[in-house]
Amino acid sequence: MRGRRKFFPVFVGFFLLSLLIFIFSQKGWVNGVTGVLQTITLPIQRYSFSFFHSSSGGDENIDLRMQAAKVAALEKDNQALRDQFAVINPSSKTLIPAFIVGMPAFLPGISIVDEIIIDKGSDDKIKPGSSIVFKDNLIGKIVKTSPHLSVVDLLNHKGFSFTAKTTATHALGIMQGTGTETIVLNNVLLSDTLQKGDIVVTKGDINSDGLGFPPDLIIGKIISINKKASALFQSAEVERLVDVTRLEMVFVVLGG
């Protein structure tokens, strides 16, 4: 056996330190440290995301591409802000603009994105359960917060479900994420009518803390209907109207 530096004491040291930090983090005792670290890493993360997000290949000078990405991002942000504040529902008083700083996927640009990270967190009074919108479209829901960052589950996230209704026929059902590009409106009574092309909106289920989905936010458009006379319910495949992968800014609906 070859001579090696002793690694066991070093491993035990790092293991115990990691375990200690992990336990403290679960108890919420290191939120201050997390906040400070995020203050340092957030600009890098945001800049990198903006760069990766807007880069489209080619052999241009890398600095120029970075600058162009920055200018394009600013223009998009201004436009997004103008558009959002022109929308009546949800009221602009309850909205916080947030930049997307992470959009993890197996193959970026190819794989399905079902989760994003935004640059607003518990320090901005954001809580898990708050809804995320773009104009009057529902984008997703906050599931995890840290001092300066939050994780958002998108509508297509597997396990995501909430009540919804169709605008033309007022059919009620449960929207469910499938982990694929489309989402499904399930549990619609056979006596209700579903129409191809009908717009599906949120029914509204805000709890006493003001968290949840406000009513009448657009979810998407029905693209196919699955109705069998022998089944208890019918369902419909719904296509989202907003391509989240093209967004750089979204809005958090503040509760209460």
């Binding site: 090696r4 690694f7 070093v10 491993f11 983090s25 670290l37 890493t41 197996f106």
Partner: protein, 146 residues
């Protein structure tokens, strides 16, 4: 050294903003396999601090990635005491199972495909880094199990 630093930073950056594939795990694993004789403590330290950065940027509990990485690297170092780890089959197997555990632990999807792609990346990185560090010390035969 500069090349290694660049790979580590790129892995951290990509994993923070754009990709679910555990690139940082792959990088530290390959570094440990190649530099286990002299720099194993340095790789453990890198795994610890890099893990903290990933926890901060991916909104995980602070320390969770560090905990996973240090434990996984420790298992590899234990294995190294009895067997040779500078081989392609070892890199392939350890990265494949490491990625599966990592993705399962942190709740990601498409586990098997990502593990497959990740282990191929690990082997490629292993070959590149082996050649760059000390080519005469490493054998790439897939039959090299001693």
């Amino acid at each position: 050294m500069f090349f290694l630093l660049l790979i580590v930073l790129a892995a951290l950056l990509l994993e923070s903003v754009a990709i679910t594939l555990p690139l940082f795990l792959i990088v530290v694993l390959v570094m440990l396999v190649i530099f286990s004789e002299k720099q194993n403590n340095l790789v453990l330290a890198l795994a610890f601090f890099g893990g903290l950065i990933l926890d901060v940027s991916a909104v995980r509990y602070l320390g969770s990635t560090s905990l996973f990485l240090t434990c996984w690297l420790f298992l590899i170092l234990l294995y190294e005491r009895k067997y040779e780890i500078n081989t392609i089959p070892f890199v392939l197997a350890s990265s494949f199972f490491g990625i599966i555990l990592y993705l399962w632990f942190f709740g990601y999807g498409e586990i098997l495909i990502q593990a497959g792609v990740g282990s191929i990346i690990a082997v490629l990185l292993f070959k590149i880094l082996s050649v760059r560090s000390a080519p005469q010390n490493f054998q790439f035969s897939i039959f090299n199990f001693h």
